[in-house]
C-alpha cells in the first residue's frame, strides 16, 4: 500500500496542470519515500483523507509572513514628520540633514571620478586610497596608527557600519548596553541580531552618565556597549571621566565598545575624545564615522569602521553580504574631502556656531527650557511650558498651528515615557530658515 505522501507526489507529478507531467513517471527507488517529513508536508497540502482519491485542494494560504524580528518596525518618525511638514508647508527643523550643500571641491572630485570612469565595483572593504585617507585622519585626530588594509572598512554610511558591526559581532542573546535617548537604528539593528538590549538613561539637565545605574547594568554578561559621542539627540559629549568609567567596566568585564562618532567635527563646547584612544581600549573598540555630517553630503552614504583586525573581520563579513561594496565615485571624492585643510573644519565650526546661536537664543526667547548642547547640530528642549501632555502632541501642534517641525524625542527611548517632555531641533539649516522658524514660533506659540 502506498503511503499518502507517495500517492500525493504522484498526483502532483501526473497532474495535467504541470507541463512535465507526460514525461515523468515515478521511479521505483523513489517510491521508498517514507520519511516522516514527506508525509507531513503532503498531509498539510491535502484536505481529503482518502488515499484513493488524492486531490491537491488548495487550502486557505497562510498570510504572507514578515519575520518576527521586524514586528516592531514601522515607518520612522522622521518620515512621518517630513510628510506632515510638507503637507503644512512647515519649516523643517526636524530631520537632521542640511538644507545647504556640500563644498564644491568635494563635489568636483566626485564628478572627476565619474568622468574618469571610476564607476564599477570598488574593492569590498574600500578603495585603497580612501582606507589610507581614513587611517591618516584617524591618526591626526587620535594619535593612533592603524593599518588601512586590515583595520579600516568602508561602508554605505555610518548607518551601515553600525548594522555590519551588530550583525558581524553580536550573537543572539548577547547583552548590549545602549544609552537612552539613542539614534533609532541602534535598537533596530540590535533586535535584528537578536541581542538583549539593556539601557541606561541620560537625564537633563546635563545628560551625565549615571555611574550607579551603569554599574548595575554592566556585568560579565555584557557583550558590548554602544556610545554615541557627540550624542544625538542631546548634543552631549562624553567626558574623559565618563569614558574612563566605561573603559574600566569594559576591561573588567571583557566587553566591546562600539562608538558612533559622526558628529566629531561638530564639537563646540568640549573636546571630542575617541574611546579607542584610551588605554586598553583600542583592541576592543569599533570606531565608526562618516562623511555626511562633516561635509554636508548626507546622501552620499560614505562611512567607515575602524577596528583591530580580529574585530574588523566580523564587520567586513557582514558588510560584504549587506551591500557588497560602496559607491565608487563617492569614495574617490571622500579621499579629497578627508584631505581638507584645518581651515575647512574651522570654517565649518564657525558657520555652525552662528547658526546655533540663532536657534538657541531664539528658542529661549520663545519660552522653551533649552538644554546646553556641547556638540552635534541638535538641541533638545523641554516643551512643557506650552502645556502639552507629551512630545508627540506638542510636535503635531507645532507643525499644524505654528508651521515648524521638531522631532519628538520619546521615539529615542526604550521607555517612551522618559522622553515625553523633550523635543529635538536641528540647526543644520541656512540662517534665513532658522530665523523664519523662530519668527513663526514667536508669533504662534504661546505659553
Amino acid at each position: 500500500m502506498q503511503s499518502r505522501g507517495v500517492a500525493l507526489r504522484e498526483a502532483i507529478i501526473s497532474s495535467p496542470a504541470l507541463p512535465f507531467s507526460e514525461g515523468l513517471k515515478p521511479k521505483p527507488h523513489i517510491c521508498k519515500l517514507n520519511k516522516p517529513w514527506v508525509r507531513t508536508i503532503m498531509a498539510s497540502a491535502v484536505s481529503t483523507a482518502n488515499s484513493e482519491q488524492v486531490a491537491v485542494k488548495a487550502q486557505e494560504p497562510p498570510p504572507l509572513q514578515v519575520s518576527r524580528r521586524l514586528e516592531k518596525f514601522k515607518t520612522t518618525i522622521f518620515t512621518q514628520m517630513s510628510i506632515l511638514a510638507v503637507k503644512h508647508g512647515a519649516v523643517n527643523l526636524g530631520q537632521g540633514f542640511p538644507n545647504f550643500d556640500g563644498p564644491e571641491f568635494v563635489k568636483e572630485a566626485a564628478i572627476k571620478a565619474i568622468r574618469e570612469g571610476k564607476n564599477q565595483y570598488a574593492r569590498g572593504y574600500g578603495v585603497p586610497e580612501l582606507n589610507s585617507a581614513v587611517a591618516a585622519r584617524f591618526k591626526k585626530d587620535t594619535g593612533l596608527t592603524v593599518d588601512p588594509e586590515k583595520e579600516v572598512t568602508v561602508t554605505s554610511g555610518c548607518t551601515e557600519a553600525i548594522a555590519a558591526t551588530m550583525l558581524g559581532l553580536i550573537n543572539p542573546g548577547d547583552e548590549v548596553i545602549i544609552f537612552s535617548p539613542f539614534y533609532d537604528s541602534y535598537q533596530a539593528t540590535l533586535s535584528m541580531s537578536d541581542a538583549k538590549i539593556k539601557t541606561v538613561t541620560l537625564r537633563p539637565p546635563d545628560f551625565a552618565v549615571p555611574e550607579k545605574e551603569l554599574r548595575e547594568v554592566f556585568s560579565e554578561n555584557t557583550r558590548a556597549i554602544l556610545i554615541n559621542t557627540p550624542h544625538n539627540p542631546t548634543g552631549k559629549m562624553f567626558s574623559q571621566k565618563e569614558l574612563e568609567l566605561i573603559a574600566s567596566l569594559c576591561i573588567e568585564n571583557d566587553a566591546l565598545a562600539f562608538t558612533d562618532e559622526v558628529y566629531d567635527k561638530l564639537a563646540f563646547e568640549a573636546e571630542h575624545i575617541s574611546m579607542a584612544s584610551l588605554p586598553g581600549m583600542y583592541e576592543r573598540t569599533v570606531t565608526m564615522n562618516s562623511l555626511g555630517k562633516t561635509f554636508s553630503l548626507t546622501g552620499w552614504k560614505i562611512g567607515w569602521a575602524i577596528a583591530p583586525p580580529h574585530l574588523s573581520w566580523g564587520v567586513r563579513q557582514a558588510h560584504s553580504y549587506l551591500t557588497f561594496s560602496t559607491s565608487t565615485p563617492m569614495q574617490w571624492a571622500s579621499v579629497a574631502a578627508l584631505q581638507a585643510p584645518d581651515s575647512y573644519y574651522e570654517e565649518l565650526l564657525k558657520d555652525y556656531r552662528a547658526k546655533k546661536n540663532i536657534l538657541v537664543d531664539g528658542l529661549k526667547t520663545v519660552g522653551f527650557k533649552v538644554y546646553d548642547s556641547p556638540g552635534t547640530y541638535f538641541v533638545v528642549v523641554d516643551h512643557t511650558p506650552f502645556g502639552f501632555d507629551n512630545d508627540i502632541a506638542f510636535c503635531e501642534h507645532l507643525i499644524e498651528k505654528v508651521g515648524v517641525v521638531a522631532i519628538p524625542t520619546s521615539v529615542f527611548y526604550v521607555d517612551p515615557n522618559e522622553g515625553k517632555n523633550l523635543v529635538r531641533f536641528t540647526f543644520a539649516k541656512d540662517e534665513d530658515t532658522l530665523k523664519q522658524a523662530i519668527e513663526r514660533m514667536k508669533a504662534n506659540l504661546k505659553r
Binding site: I30, I111, Q120, S296
Partner: protein, 423 residues
C-alpha cells in the same frame, strides 16, 4: 579574540571571487573573473549623475519617480500591475535589496531553496538571517531543472525559493515551462519566491526574460530584486530595488532604512535618466553582449574547452574542462593566471550539493535532498577529480573588445602550455 566574533561571522568565509580578483591584480592578469565591465558607462547617464551633484541633490533622498518608472516598465514588459507608492523599495544595489528581502522574510530555522550552481552571496544572506540554505542541483550539461528534485527539496520549514534568471554563472534563461513548474510548486507549497533579475536586459536570440512574478498566483508571493548595475554598466553606483507585496515591501523599506538609510542620492537621480533610456539602448546592449558571447564561446571552443551550453543571457560562459585535462578547476585557473595572465573563476565556488553525476553511485543522496552547505572554504567538499563540480570555469565577457582580443591572443599563444590536452 576569535570568540568575540558572532557565530554568523565565523560561518562566513571571504569571497573566493574577490580573492581571485586580488591575485589577478597582483599578477596584472586580464580580468575575465569578476562580472563588471571595463568599458565606460553610457555618457548620458554619467552626465545625469554629474548634473545631479551640481544641482545639489546630495542629501538623504528617496526619488519616488524611480518607483513610478519601474512600475510603468514592469507593466510594459511583464504585464504586471504594482503600486509605485507601496510595492517598491529603493536600495543600495540589488545586493542590499536581496539582503533586506531575506532579513524581511527569513526567521531562525526557515529553509530557503537555491538552485545550484548559485551565486555565493545568497547563502550567506540566508545564514546571516538564521535560515538554512537548501540546494537543488540543476543538471549539467544544460542546467535543466528536474521537477522531482525540486519537490523533494520542500519541507514544512521551506519559507522561500531564490530564482536567479538570467543565471549567474551559467547564463541560463529559465523558460516559461520551467517558470510554470516553479510557480505551481510555490503556490501549492505556500512558498515565497525571491528573484534576482540583474541581468534582465541581457538576453540573446529567442531567449526572453520572464519575471517569475508574472506567472499565475505569483505576484502576491514574489519579491523581485534588480538594479541598474549591469544594464547600465555602473556596478559601482549602488542603486537597486525590491518589488514585493505591500507588507513585505514595507518591511524591506524599513530594514533598508536601518541598514543604510538611503541609496546614494545623485545616483538615484541618474538612475531615473537611465531607466528612461530609449529602446535602441537596450537593443544595442543586447547586440554588443551577443557579439562578445559569440567571441568568447568560439575562443573557448578553439582552445579545447567543452562549451556544452551556449549562454542565453547574463555575461558569463560556464565552460567545462575536457576529459583530457587532468587538472581541477582551481589548478587550471591558477595556471591560467600565472602562465597565460588571464583570470577566470573556478566553478567549484558555485556548487554546493554533494550529488554526483551518476545516480547509481548516489541513490542515498537523491533521497536526502537537504544539502547543508559545509564550510566549503575554498572548494573543499568534492570527492573525485572527475566530479563535475570541479570541472567548470566561469569566464566573464563583459569586457571591451580590446580586452577580449588580448585575452584571445594570450590564450592562443599559451595553448600548449596550459596542458588542456594532456592526461
Amino acid at each position: 579574540m576569535e570568540k568575540r566574533l558572532s557565530k554568523r561571522a565565523l560561518s562566513l568565509k571571504a569571497s573566493p571571487i574577490q580573492e581571485l580578483s586580488h591575485l589577478a591584480q597582483r599578477c596584472n592578469a586580464i580580468n575575465l573573473a569578476e562580472g563588471f565591465p571595463d568599458f565606460p558607462a553610457p555618457p548620458a547617464i554619467k552626465d545625469a549623475a554629474i548634473a545631479a551633484i551640481r544641482a545639489d541633490f546630495n542629501q538623504y533622498r528617496h526619488v519616488q519617480a524611480i518607483c513610478d518608472y519601474l512600475a510603468y516598465t514592469l507593466k510594459l514588459t511583464q504585464g504586471l500591475d504594482v503600486d509605485p507608492k507601496k510595492n517598491i523599495a529603493i536600495c543600495c544595489g540589488q545586493s542590499e535589496a536581496f539582503a533586506a528581502a531575506i532579513l524581511a522574510v527569513v526567521d531562525e530555522g526557515d529553509e530557503v531553496l537555491l538552485l545550484d550552481p548559485a551565486y555565493e552571496t545568497y547563502e550567506a544572506c540566508i545564514t546571516m538571517a538564521g535560515g538554512t540554505p537548501v540546494y537543488v542541483a540543476l543538471n549539467p550539461p544544460c542546467w535543466t531543472l528536474e521537477l522531482e528534485k525540486l519537490i523533494l527539496a520542500f519541507t514544512p520549514r521551506t519559507k522561500a525559493i531564490v530564482l536567479n534568471s538570467p543565471h549567474n554563472p551559467t547564463g541560463k534563461v529559465f523558460s516559461k515551462d520551467e517558470l510554470t513548474v516553479i510557480a505551481e510548486l510555490c503556490c501549492r507549497m505556500h512558498c515565497i519566491a525571491i528573484t534576482d533579475e540583474v541581468y534582465e536586459h541581457i538576453t540573446f536570440g529567442s531567449a526572453v526574460h520572464i519575471s517569475l512574478a508574472s506567472l499565475p498566483g505569483m505576484l502576491e508571493r514574489t519579491i523581485i530584486t534588480s538594479s541598474i548595475s549591469k544594464t547600465y554598466s555602473v556596478t559601482g553606483w549602488r542603486v537597486g530595488w525590491a518589488i514585493a507585496p505591500v507588507e513585505i515591501a514595507s518591511a524591506i523599506r524599513n530594514i533598508h532604512v536601518k541598514l543604510t538609510d538611503s541609496a546614494p542620492a545623485p545616483f538615484q537621480e541618474a538612475a531615473l535618466t537611465a531607466l528612461q533610456s530609449v529602446p535602441e539602448y537596450f537593443e544595442s546592449l543586447r547586440m554588443e553582449y551577443n557579439e562578445r558571447r559569440d567571441f568568447m564561446v568560439d575562443l573557448l571552443n578553439r582552445v579545447g574547452f567543452k562549451v556544452h551550453f551556449k549562454p542565453q543571457g547574463a555575461v558569463f560562459v560556464f565552460a567545462e574542462l575536457p576529459e583530457t585535462c587532468a587538472m581541477s578547476d582551481v589548478e587550471y585557473v591558477a595556471k591560467l593566471i600565472t602562465v597565460a595572465g588571464i583570470a577566470a573563476v573556478p566553478g567549484c565556488g558555485f556548487f554546493h550539493t554533494r550529488e554526483k553525476l551518476s545516480r547509481q553511485e548516489s541513490s542515498q543522496s537523491i533521497l536526502d535532498p537537504v544539502s547543508r552547505p559545509e564550510s566549503m572554504g575554498w572548494c573543499e567538499g568534492s570527492h573525485t577529480l572527475k566530479d563535475y563540480r570541479n570541472r567548470y570555469i566561469r569566464f566573464a565577457y563583459c569586457k571591451s573588445k580590446a580586452t577580449l582580443m588580448a585575452a584571445a591572443d594570450k590564450l592562443n599563444k599559451c595553448n600548449g602550455l596550459l596542458v588542456l590536452h594532456e592526461i
